[in-house]
């Protein structure tokens, strides 16, 4: 039993955090009610998600990665991963997959304590991650649900060619849309899709404004730990909705006020007094998210830009969903997601962040689960160092496997890295 003296200190949150939490909780509740309401559920992935298209058919998106990370944050992932490994899934592979499978085998109970319904369709948007393909092959075997496959070509040469765009659009027309029509019982309505895409672009404008507010000193936001809350609505089920527009308008107003007040970002233990400005590459750890953030906050380290907040769409280089060319725009969106960029483009983007955001350096959080992110990160680190002169740091963890979160090791490495930046500053170096 917890006595008052042992009570966990109250976590401080911005109003926008409460709002996005409520939006996501409401979505899970709607999913839970789906068997009664008759709503159909489509499982799909965050990178390359086709939320507007799904919503144009009144279909509800379910994102297994989000379920997995929620399980990680709720302390459930250890048992889920263990269950999947007992059933023959290798310890070497992605823990999102194993966490999702373990959750399914344990009743598929979501973060609100309600059961997530089985998929009516698996929309395999194969964007920027090989594992996605295997993941949905496994789910197809488990659920027996139909699969609509959308193969999104990789930007191997760092560009989107007409042939690549045509390929995606043709798949949308010939495979994905007919599958959505079958499962929803509704016809494709391009005008409706365009309306949704126009709303997306409005929300995207405000999201980009918020992310770019971190160019100010002090930064009013943390673009990694705080950033994962900011991207929540737009990366999940809300892109194209009025709720998303409202959320990002409110978020922007909140950040504008913070900026006007000269205040730094709000971490769980309070406001951060900015001492270090970092760019972070790679996803966060979810099993010890708050502890992980605290390690940064305690040192006054604010993340001013991150690649993870681009995994569900890179908007700060100018892309917006375009209602005038709906399917082409969705194709460009899919192909433009961060992990679908080749390594030279990733290096360019991160180098630009270091320079434009006045960062002290690039820190890589390399997660064991995700080769799409992790393979090549050591080279990315060196390249960004060479191009910007800002020092790089490297820590390792995992997405949702608590066995790979070594707190003291990460803390030591982070502190050493920040000390190095400090010493370089004192010596008059670039940092």
């Amino acid at each position: 039993m917890t006595t008052p003296a042992e009570a966990v200190p109250e976590v401080r949150k911005d109003g926008s955090q409460h709002k996005q939490k409520q939006m996501i909780a409401d979505h899970f509740s709607r999913l839970a009610r789906a068997p009664r309401t008759g709503d159909k559920c489509v499982y799909t992935f965050v990178p390359g998600n086709l939320t507007e298209l799904l919503l144009s058919f009144d279909l509800l998106p379910v994102l297994p990665e989000i379920n997995a990370l929620q399980s990680g944050m709720r302390g459930k992932s250890r048992e889920y991963i263990s269950l999947a490994e007992k059933q023959g899934h290798s310890e070497d592979v992605c823990t999102y997959v194993k966490c999702d499978l373990g959750m399914m085998k344990s009743g598929n109970v979501g973060p609100t304590g309600e059961k997530i319904p089985d998929p009516d369709l698996l929309l395999l948007s194969y964007t920027g991650c090989f594992t996605f393909m295997k993941w949905f092959e496994i789910l197809r075997q488990e659920y027996g649900a139909p699969v609509a496959m959308l193969h999104v070509p990789y930007q191997g040469d760092g560009e989107i060619t007409a042939a690549m765009r045509d390929y995606v659009v043709e798949q949308l027309r010939r495979n994905v849309i007919p599958a959505l029509e079958r499962v929803s019982g509704k016809s494709y309505d391009e005008d409706r899709l365009s309306e949704l895409l126009a709303r997306s672009a409005r929300a995207e404008d405000d999201l980009v404004w918020v992310l770019e507010s971190a160019k100010n000193r002090p930064s009013p936001i943390d673009a990694y730990f705080g950033g994962v809350y900011y991207i929540g609505p737009i990366f999940t089920a809300f892109r194209g909705t009025d709720e998303a527009i409202d959320y990002y308008r409110e978020l922007r107003a909140e950040v504008e006020q913070r900026l006007a007040d000269g205040r730094g970002p709000l971490a769980p233990d309070g406001e951060i007094e900015e001492r270090f400005r970092l760019v972070v590459e790679g996803p966060p750890n979810w099993t010890s998210f708050r502890e992980f953030w605290r390690m940064f906050a305690d040192e006054g380290a604010v993340v001013v830009a991150s690649s993870y907040t681009k995994v569900g769409g890179v908007y700060d280089t100018g892309f917006r969903h375009d209602p005038a060319r709906p399917l082409e725009s969705l194709a460009d969106y899919c192909m433009g997601c961060y992990t679908n960029l080749n390594l030279p483009r990733r290096v360019e983007l991160l180098s630009r962040y270091v320079v434009d955001y006045g960062a002290d350096g690039l820190l890589v959080n390399s997660v064991k689960s995700c080769n799409s992110f992790s393979a090549g990160q050591l080279m990315i680190l060196r390249e960004v160092e060479n191009r910007t002169g800002a020092p790089g740091g490297f820590i390792e963890s995992d997405l949702v496997d608590p066995r790979y979160f070594a707190a003291s090791n990460i803390k030591n490495r982070l502190e050493s890295y920040l000390q190095m930046i400090d010493q370089k500053r004192q010596a008059g170096g670039t940092a």
Binding site: S90, D92, V93, T131, V147, G156, G376, M379
Partner: protein, 388 residues
């Protein structure tokens, strides 16, 4: 082993072990042509050949290479083949290559293509995205555009321009090679004692680092000598199918270990490129269309290909049936996403069919096989003792 067999296998093994690609260097000196490396599993070899380019299979450094710089490029939880490939790139072994092609295998090889661009900015570096949509009007059109773009890129680097008649001739040459490899696999299936897998394996490895015409001659010599090797008599070994080793290759010692532990390998997915197409390609008509159609319709069921509405594992069960295998060895490299994510689904199919199986992992540079020998030996014994 008879004299000719010994000679052929030694010749193949020398080519296989030559990480500095001596045969490629000699060919370039003789012809002045371009040589382009490719990673496993599949690239359209015929297209390179038709443009006068020698395609060179890059299958890692195996157990012969000390990794000095390659480990600085990769975290411990990433498979071994990219680190040995980088090592060979940095130590000059690939100086004779004018470029590298990275087919769509997994995220690690995909990202390696970008690393290669950064590390070797003056060379041709190409990520070859193959379609996962197998509709000729959709995936086929995309793949054709990829091939046309690859052909143009090769020509821009000094290769001959694309020419349909030359591609038809190259398809015919590679049909011959595929036919030779199929014949040897058939022979091994029928009489595995005549074609030990450790020999077949080095022949296949040799076939990707020398000109195709030389490979055909080598395979012919081997087949003739193997057929004549009457001193090779059957032994009481279990017939097994090995799966999971399609990208990072097992060390030769591991294959020998499996055989010494009492297994006849009667089917496998080592060096799969010459068996990627299950049929010969047409030598008439539009040859680019032939490459595209064959890729869409005749490719093997690999973990790197999306399996649409088919039942997972069905293709493997058919291979078990065709090869007469009595058991399946899941033999995948550590940290290999395609193989290891696929494995539980295939295991389910194998178990449902009542086929014995066992699984282990390796890295290309493993040197100790005692545990695998015991495991494979026990597996083989159990098949011989208790199978119907």
């Amino acid at each position: 082993m008879t004299g000719e067999l010994e000679l052929v296998v030694a010749e193949a093994e020398e080519l296989f072990r030559d990480l500095r690609l001596g045969a490629v260097r000699r060919w370039k000196e003789e012809t002045g042509g371009l040589a382009v490396g490719y990673m496993p599993i599949y690239v359209p070899l015929e297209l390179f050949h038709a443009q006068g380019v020698m395609p060179v299979g890059i299958f890692g450094g195996g157990d012969q290479l000390e990794i000095i710089r390659g480990d600085a490029y990769y975290q411990s939880y990433i498979c071994h083949i990219p680190r040995s490939t980088i090592e060979l790139g940095l130590n000059g072994a690939f100086d004779c290559l004018d470029g590298m092609v990275f087919p769509a295998i997994c995220d690690v090889v995909r990202n390696l293509s970008g690393m290669w661009k950064l590390q070797f900015p003056d060379r041709l570096v190409r990520y070859l995205d193959v379609p996962q949509n197998f509709d000729p009007e959709v995936g086929g059109r995309f793949y054709r555009a990829e091939l046309e773009s690859l052909a143009a890129e090769l020509a821009a680097r000094g290769a001959a321009s694309y020419d349909a008649s030359r591609l038809r001739e190259s398809i015919a040459v590679y049909n011959e090679l595929r036919g030779r490899v199929r014949d040897l696999y058939d022979l091994r299936r029928r009489e595995p004692w005549k074609v030990p897998t450790h020999e077949l394996y080095v022949l296949l490895r040799a076939s990707v680092v020398q000109p195709v015409e030389a490979s055909i001659r080598l395979l012919d010599r081997y087949r003739e000598a193997a057929l004549a090797a009457d001193e090779r008599r059957p032994m009481d070994q279990a017939r097994v199918l090995v799966t999971g080793s399609f990208c990072e290759q097992p060390p030769l010692g591991l294959i020998r270990t499996l055989e010494r532990s009492g297994c006849y390998v009667v089917d496998d997915d080592f060096v799969q490129i010459h068996r990627w197409m299950e049929c010969d390609l047409p030598t008439g008509g539009d040859p680019l269309a032939s490459l595209v159609d064959a890729f869409l319709a005749d490719s093997v069921a690999s973990p790197v290909r999306y399996i649409g509405e088919e039942t997972k594992g069905r293709a493997l069960l058919e291979r078990v049936e065709r090869s007469g295998a009595e058991g399946v060895l899941f033999c995948a490299p550590s940290f290999c996403d395609p193989a290891l994510l696929d494995q539980p689904m295939i295991v389910a199919a194998v178990e449902a069919a009542g086929i014995p199986w066992t699984a282990f992992k390796y890295a290309e540079n493993n040197g100790q096989f005692q545990v695998i020998r015991e495991q494979a030996g026990t597996f083989s014994d159990s098949i011989k003792l208790w199978s119907d």
